[in-house]
Amino acid sequence: MTTVLAICVTVIVTVSVYLMLSRELKSIAMGVFLLGHGANLSIIAMSGSPVLPGGGLRQPPILGDGILVDALPQALILTAIVINFAVMGFFLTLLVLTARNTGTLNLDELALEDPPVASPELEPTVDGGPGGGVGR
């Protein structure tokens, strides 16, 4: 099981690094979210199986006897998922706002100190037009 999880984590992290290297903010956002999932999976892998290498059963820390996997990593992951979700919401909102205010989601164009003169054929799909909402 651990091997399968390890392979999953590897694939997810690889894809997310590839996405994060892009110059498009949308891809970067997706890469960051995937990385969070990779981290959560790796904690699952870390928590191990309920059977210990010696043959005994792993005891849950609080409940005494019973055949349970350790509940704590699950709680950690739950917390991490919630936080990841909140950050994702913020990131996507910021993306929408950036697109509205600056008319671009490309890092190279964003890095320009002086916004280029609005050219409608460059960003025809963006709502509100380039520079339309600066300082609102």
């Binding site: 990385l35 981290a39 904690i43 870390m46 950050v87 913020f90 706002l97 950036t98 964003l110 600066v134």
Partner: protein, 514 residues
């Protein structure tokens, strides 16, 4: 000692944040609420700090679960001193914001975000386990993302992504390393970890393979948040873009939480045994480079905001230097330096805000002759700047004195770098002083634009408060240094900390590998 009320420092700002959201359209009640919240927390924190002057440790076990199983909040000398300073800084910046922040910006949830920032910062300082440190970091960062883009100008948005993405990656690495630590030791409570690690090293059993790797991963995480040498690039671009009170708040609180996390976890757990041989050289090298390159960057800048922002990096180097020494006096010096730096740096940023208000720009070419126009500002800036440089009897002097003297025996070259950095700090501060306050402006000064309410009373109260605290810290260096020294003792010999957090000496989780 038990103290069940420590949670108040997290609950008060949280409740205030929720109440402020309901009042978001009305600024006056929000301000009163915010002041009440920050003020009451400051009173509580100072009261508790005076209770533990002799090196006691206050501990709160949430839900009365014993230490390794429940959530533990710890108020020892290190966290207590930083909590008080953090609240002082927040209070100063908050009062300042009343008169410089545009009403439009203020209505965009400025007050709730500040309170949420304090929730995160306080939780980071108080928490006794690694995972809650992560949660505290995240709360603080979420609030800081919001504050960073408050007003949503093009420049803010373009720069915010650097900060956002770097911090998200760092947080992910934090989660992974917390998971690794749990897999190795079966606990995330710092006191419990310290006990297990010490016992393993003492019994010759050794630490699990990969422990050094986890140490370095955590160093990366805290380094990214604290802007240490290779991971500082986000800071000079992001801080100057936000409104001045926000920049002052960030420079006083955010990077220091990263430094605090290193000071808390590394001497206790992650720089023990083999890990120390790997982590210490990394920290020392990072400290030297951060100090020196940071100040070189500051000298080369030409706008007040950027000079101050790059200086934050340089000063972080001093703190890392003290931590890397891993001696009692070194850690105490780092802590004292951190405390005074938080206050001084924030007050400098606030001064920069008023300078901009007068001259309409923070470009050194456009500033000038401000001493004639605003004597109070000139004096406040001069005192704060000289304190940053480290001239006696101001507070920066004592911090540098302890660090340089402590580092001299083993790492004299770093002490030399520290002194050289001090000289260059003086150069860059004098650059602002002469161009901004002393000489006549090079370019014609524009008439002051309408920023905020135009009533600068709040701004002056904020600056005056922080500068007064900074001067007081210099004059009353002894009692503060005493507390810092207790903190250093508790970090180098954690038995008191472990005993206080884990009083019954409960065994680690069965089967957790401990």
């Amino acid at each position: 000692m038990r103290n069940d009320l420590l949670g108040l420092l997290v609950v008060i700002p949280l409740a205030t944040a929720v109440a402020s959201v309901a009042l978001v359209r009305r600024s006056r009640p929000q301000r009163v609420l915010g002041l009440l919240s920050l003020g009451s927390m400051l009173v509580l924190a100072v009261g508790w700090l005076s209770e533990i002057r002799d090196g006691d440790v206050l501990v709160s076990q949430m839900g009365a679960w014993p230490a390794p199983f429940g959530i533990t909040l710890v108020f020892d000398s290190l966290s207590g001193l930083l909590l008080c300073t953090g609240l002082v800084v927040a209070l100063g910046c908050y009062v300042h914001s009343f008169s410089v922040l545009e009403p439009e910006t203020e209505r965009r949830y400025f007050h709730p975000l500040v309170q949420l920032l304090m929730v995160g910062v306080n939780q980071c300082f108080l928490t006794g386990d690694l995972f809650n440190l992560f949660v505290g970091f995240e709360i603080m960062l979420m609030a800081s993302y919001g504050l960073l883009v408050i007003g949503a100008s093009r420049r803010q948005m373009a720069q915010a992504y650097k900060y956002l993405v770097l911090n998200l990656i760092a947080s992910t690495v934090f989660v992974i390393s917390a998971g690794l630590v749990y897999g190795m030791f079966g606990t995330l409570n710092l006191a419990d970890l310290a006990r297990i690690v010490d016992a393993r090293v003492a019994s010759g059993e050794g630490l699990p393979p990969g422990f050094v790797g986890v140490s370095v991963m955590l160093l990366f995480v805290f380094g990214a948040k604290g802007a240490f040498f290779p991971l500082w690039f986000w800071l000079p671009d992001t801080y100057p873009t936000c409104p001045v009170p926000v920049a002052a708040l960030f420079s006083g609180l955010l990077t220091k939480v990263g430094v605090y996390a290193v000071a808390r976890t590394f001497p206790l757990v992650f720089a023990v045994g083999d890990a120390r041989d790997v982590v210490t050289p990394l920290l020392l090298a990072s400290a030297g480079i951060t100090m020196f390159l940071g100040v070189l960057g500051a000298v080369s800048q030409h706008s007040v905001r950027r000079i101050l922002a790059v200086h934050v990096i340089s000063q972080v180097g001093y703190m890392v230097f003290g931590i890397a020494l891993m001696t009692t006096a070194g850690l105490a010096g780092a802590l004292y330096y951190m405390v005074q730096h938080m206050v001084v740096k924030s007050s400098l940023f606030l001064c920069c805000g008023v300078m901009e208000h007068h001259a309409g720009s923070d470009d050194l070419d456009r500033l000038g002759g401000l001493l004639k126009r605003d004597r109070f500002l000139g004096i406040a800036f001069f005192v704060a700047a000289m304190s940053l440089v480290g001239l006696p009897p101001l507070s920066g002097f004592f911090g540098k004195l302890v660090l340089v003297r402590e580092g001299w025996t083993d790492h004299w070259w770093l002490s030399v770098v520290a002194l050289l950095t001090g000289v260059l700090t003086l150069v860059s501060m004098l650059k602002i002083w002469t161009r901004g306050f002393w000489l006549a402006p090079v370019a014609a000064a524009e008439p002051a634009p309408a920023a905020g309410s135009g009533d600068l009373r709040g701004a002056y109260i904020g600056i005056g408060f922080l500068v007064a605290v900074a001067v007081l810290m210099g004059l009353a260096a002894e009692p503060i240094y005493d507390i810092a020294f207790h903190a250093g003792e508790q970090l180098t010999d954690p038995s008191a900390y472990i005993g206080a957090v884990n009083p019954r000496g409960l065994a680690a989780v069965p089967g957790g590998g401990g």
